[in-house]
Structures are given as structure tokens and as C-alpha cells.
């Protein structure tokens, strides 16, 4: 039986990502900052540090630690998001932290912390991957030692069709097999997976195909990130 979702709602090809805009150095008071936008989703990431970590019992004498916080702004969706930490935002902050921790090297700054703040001013699915893309650029901009960059994309499935960069309408697809959402983060050099989550149903064969599609899309995202980092003009660090 053919898939019930053949033509995408916004007319994109199945492997096509939404238009991307990346900017670096958007917050003057931060050590590093960046924004990343795909379609109706936008993420802002701000990096502070390395600075001495308090309370002292959280310090690690062997290395600095990375601390990521994620939050959606109250107005980012059609109904209201209750401000402040929630179970969902704590979880996403933690998985983003693990994804970024695999490329960041803070061994030169013992007893310190690098804070990454991810905020979502507008959301149309894929906020954690947009947040990761922004956070990787902001960390690089802050001059934090990193082995490589992180690029992230949400791949998925609506009924039987595999899709790249799923938007909210596709995430809510109910017909047939329904929707599957797979946020995925890839390291830029080793092409290793540093984040993989799955919500929905998918067969093992389809999953590896979806990951391949995601890896291909990540190459395009990396180009956007590189362009933004290489063409920083109005550098202000007051």
C-alpha cells in the first residue's frame, strides 16, 4: 500500500530542509552567542565562561564542566508555554549537554563551568536540534576548545514516508502509521552520532535509512554554520 503522506504540506522534497538563517555574535554581553533559524523554528544560544563554578562541591578538579539550559519562551507557540523549568525542558537541556560534551574539551580549565543558555523564541518542531546548532556555533564563537562542530537535524516519518527536518504539521500527522520524530546530532568531522532520540514507530531498516538522510542534510547545515562563523563582521564584545 502506498504511503498516505506523499506530498509534503509545504511542498518540500522529502530530503529537503527548511530555509536556514544562522547568525553569530548577536548578544554583546556574552562570551559567545549565535542564533539558528529553520522555517518557523528559531533558537538563540548564549555562552558564558569558563568561570569559577559555585557552589564549590560541584567543581571538578580534573576538568571544567559544561552546563546547558534549554527553555521555550512563553510566546513561542500558538498557546502559551508556562515559563520556568519543566520536566521537558530539563530533559532537553540534559540531552543537549551530553551531545555537546562529546566535542568540547574543558580539561584546561579545572574547577570552572561553561554555561550554555538555549532559548526558543519561536517554535515549529525541531527546537532541540535548532538549539544544538546554535549552541555549537556559540561555543565556537566563545573560543571554547572543541574537537569538532555539532550539527543536528530532526528526521522522521509520516505514515510510510521518510522525511528530513520535520515541521509541526508533520509531527502531528495521525493517518496510517502516524508520525515518528527522530532528533539526531552528528559531529562534523568524525560523522559520529552524539544525540539520537526516537518518538514513534519505525523499523530498523527505515531507521538506518532515516539516519543516512539526516547525515546528508547535516552537511548542508554545517555549510550554513561555517558561513556564519567565517563572516562575523560587527564583532562586539563589550
Amino acid at each position: 500500500m502506498a504511503s498516505l503522506y506523499e506530498k509534503r504540506f509545504d511542498g518540500r522534497a522529502v530530503g529537503e530542509v527548511r530555509p536556514m538563517i544562522a547568525k553569530v555574535g548577536i548578544v554583546p554581553s556574552a562570551d559567545g552567542s549565535a542564533s539558528f533559524e529553520t522555517g518557523g523554528t528559531k533558537a538563540i544560544a548564549v555562552v558564558r565562561g569558563p568561570r569559577t563554578l559555585h557552589p564549590q562541591h560541584m567543581q571538578n578538579a580534573q576538568t571544567g564542566i559544561l552546563r546547558v539550559s534549554y527553555g521555550m519562551m512563553p510566546f513561542s507557540v500558538w498557546d502559551r508555554i508556562r515559563p520556568g523549568p519543566s520536566r521537558r525542558s530539563e530533559e532537553i537541556g540534559k540531552v543537549c549537554e551530553w551531545a555537546l560534551d562529546s566535542v568540547v574539551d574543558l580539561s584546561g580549565f579545572p574547577n570552572t563551568v561553561v554555561d550554555v543558555f538555549i532559548q526558543i523564541p519561536k517554535a515549529d518542531a525541531g527546537t532541540r536540534v535548532a538549539g544544538l546548532n546554535a549552541a555549537a556555533m556559540a561555543l565556537a564563537h566563545a573560543g571554547i576548545p572543541m574537537k569538532e562542530m555539532i550539527t543536528a537535524i530532526a528526521v522522521g516519518k509520516a505514515d510510510k514516508t521518510l522525511l528530513v527536518d520535520v515541521d509541526k504539521a508533520e509531527e502531528d500527522f495521525h493517518d496510517g502509521e502516524g508520525a515518528t520524530d527522530i532528533p539526531l546530532a552528528i559531529t562534523s568531522r568524525g560523522k559520529e552520532i552524539s544525540l539520537l532520540q526516537l518518538d514513534g514507530k519505525i523499523s530498523p531498516a527505515e531507521l538506518s535509512e532515516a539516519i543516512e538522510m539526516g547525515k546528508k542534510a547535516c552537511d548542508d547545515i554545517l555549510k550554513v554554520q561555517m558561513d556564519a562563523l567565517k563572516n562575523v563582521t560587527g564583532e562586539n564584545n563589550e
Partner: protein, 241 residues
């Protein structure tokens, strides 16, 4: 083979390929390739590959002049917050006068500002020294925060920009590599004018031919550009690394 080349690199990007190259600061080896380990300008000097930071927080280096405030006093020295990852330690033995260890607050008290030299950088902190001319406690004047990445533009080539400012306003200007500038003059008007010039430089830090624009800005403020070399040079002048 090119001896020196400059390009902006991002983490994970291959700078150069070949076993003869040696990775230095901010670079690492992956197989035959030398890869950027941080964001910055790649600098290949002969066979030595480095990545020079262009943004981000201040990382102290030996010999830097830094301006900070006293945040703690221990039995044998002071802790100075200079905006880096760790505090700097100024031992009593690195102060060029006799200190009564029971009366350490007499010399430097909490919240007071100092100009010190970075004597040693370890992963666990920075040791500072005051034993040279131009270093010591800050009294009077004002401190302007500019961010560490615009410091090379304020200093200028071989200190030319600092000399220009000093010549125009008659104020003493001491630039800390950690992005703090101490301005001290005879009157507040001169200090405010100096501050305006410095803010003009930081606002236009990426523009080429900045000296000419600064000269015009000084004239707009109603001051004259004094070409006379200042003999008493107390600013630690360092090239943009």
C-alpha cells in the same frame, strides 16, 4: 610552500595536510592532517600551526598586563578578579614594599583595583606580580571595560593608538589585556573625552585604517592631534599576538 598564511577556521576543520607540520595552540593532529581545535585565525609559521582566538573570554598569558579588583585576602597575598576563568594570586613577596602581614588591608583592601603583570599561568590559576614600573594600586581616574578582543586596536601598532590618545587628551591610559582600560587625567573633562575616543575605537574595531578615523573623531571633539612622542611610556605595549 607558503611560509605564512591567515584564514578563519572553525573547530574540526582541516588547516593543513602533511606529517611535517606541528600542531600548536588550538590545533591537533588527526592522521596526516592538522585540525583546528578552536575557532580563530589559523597561523602557519614555517611548520608550526596555531589557531589565534578572535573572540570569546580572556585567556591570560605570561607577561600580560591586567587590571582587576581585590576579592579575597589570604595570609600571604591577595586574590584578584580580572574577568578570567580563575582569580589571580598576588603574593606579598611580589609587592615592591614592606607589608605588615597583620595589616594587609592597609595596602590593598577588598574592592580596590590594581594593575599587575601576569607572572605565571597554570591550569589552576594565575600568579601576578607588581614588581615593575607602571604596576600598582589604582587611585583616581576611571576604568572602562572594552572586552579583550578589541585591546590590540586600542594599543595600535607598537602603541601608536595609545600615544595618539595620550597626546590628544593629556590623560594617562593604561590598557589591560583582559579588556579593562584605566584612564587618569588632571580633570574629569579630559577623562571623559578619552573614554569617548576609546568607545569610538571599540565600536569600530573591525574597520581598516582606524587611525585616520580616530584622528578625525578627536578633531570633532574639539581637541588637537598632538604628534609629539610621549617620552614617559608606562603602558605595557604588546603586539596583537
Amino acid at each position: 610552500m607558503v611560509n605564512e598564511k591567515r584564514q578563519i577556521v572553525i573547530p574540526g576543520e582541516t588547516i593543513v595536510s602533511g606529517n611535517e607540520f606541528l600542531p600548536g595552540d588550538g590545533a591537533y593532529r588527526d592522521g596526516t592532517e592538522v585540525v583546528a581545535g578552536r575557532y580563530g585565525i589559523a597561523n602557519i609559521f614555517e611548520k608550526h600551526v596555531r589557531v589565534i582566538p578572535v573572540s570569546g573570554a580572556y585567556y591570560p598569558r605570561r607577561g600580560n598586563t591586567i587590571i582587576g579588583t581585590i576579592v579575597d585576602i589570604t595570609f600571604n597575598g591577595w586574590l584578584i578578579d580580572f574577568g578570567g576563568a580563575q582569580n589571580a594570586f598576588l603574593p606579598v613577596s611580589e609587592v615592591p614594599r614592606y607589608i605588615n602581614k597583620n595589616e594587609m588591608r592597609e595596602f590593598l583592601d577588598f574592592g580596590e583595583s590594581v594593575i599587575v603583570k601576569v607572572w605565571d599561568v597554570k591550569s589552576r590559576g594565575v600568579d601576578a606580580s607588581m614588581k615593575m614600573r607602571g604596576f600598582g594600586k589604582i587611585e583616581g581616574g576611571m576604568i572602562v571595560s572594552v572586552g579583550p578582543n578589541t585591546v590590540p586596536r586600542i594599543i595600535g601598532k607598537e602603541g601608536s593608538m595609545v600615544k595618539l590618545i595620550k597626546g590628544a587628551t593629556g590623560c594617562d591610559v593604561t590598557v589591560g589585556q583582559n579588556g579593562k582600560v584605566w584612564i587618569s587625567g588632571k580633570d574629569t573633562d579630559g577623562e571623559v573625552a578619552t573614554r569617548k575616543i576609546i568607545e569610538f575605537i571599540t565600536g569600530n574595531a573591525t574597520i581598516a585604517g582606524l587611525t585616520g578615523k580616530v584622528e578625525n573623531f578627536i578633531k570633532e571633539l574639539g581637541l588637537s592631534v598632538n604628534k609629539v612622542e610621549i617620552v614617559a611610556e608606562d603602558t605595557d605595549v604588546e603586539e596583537a599576538n
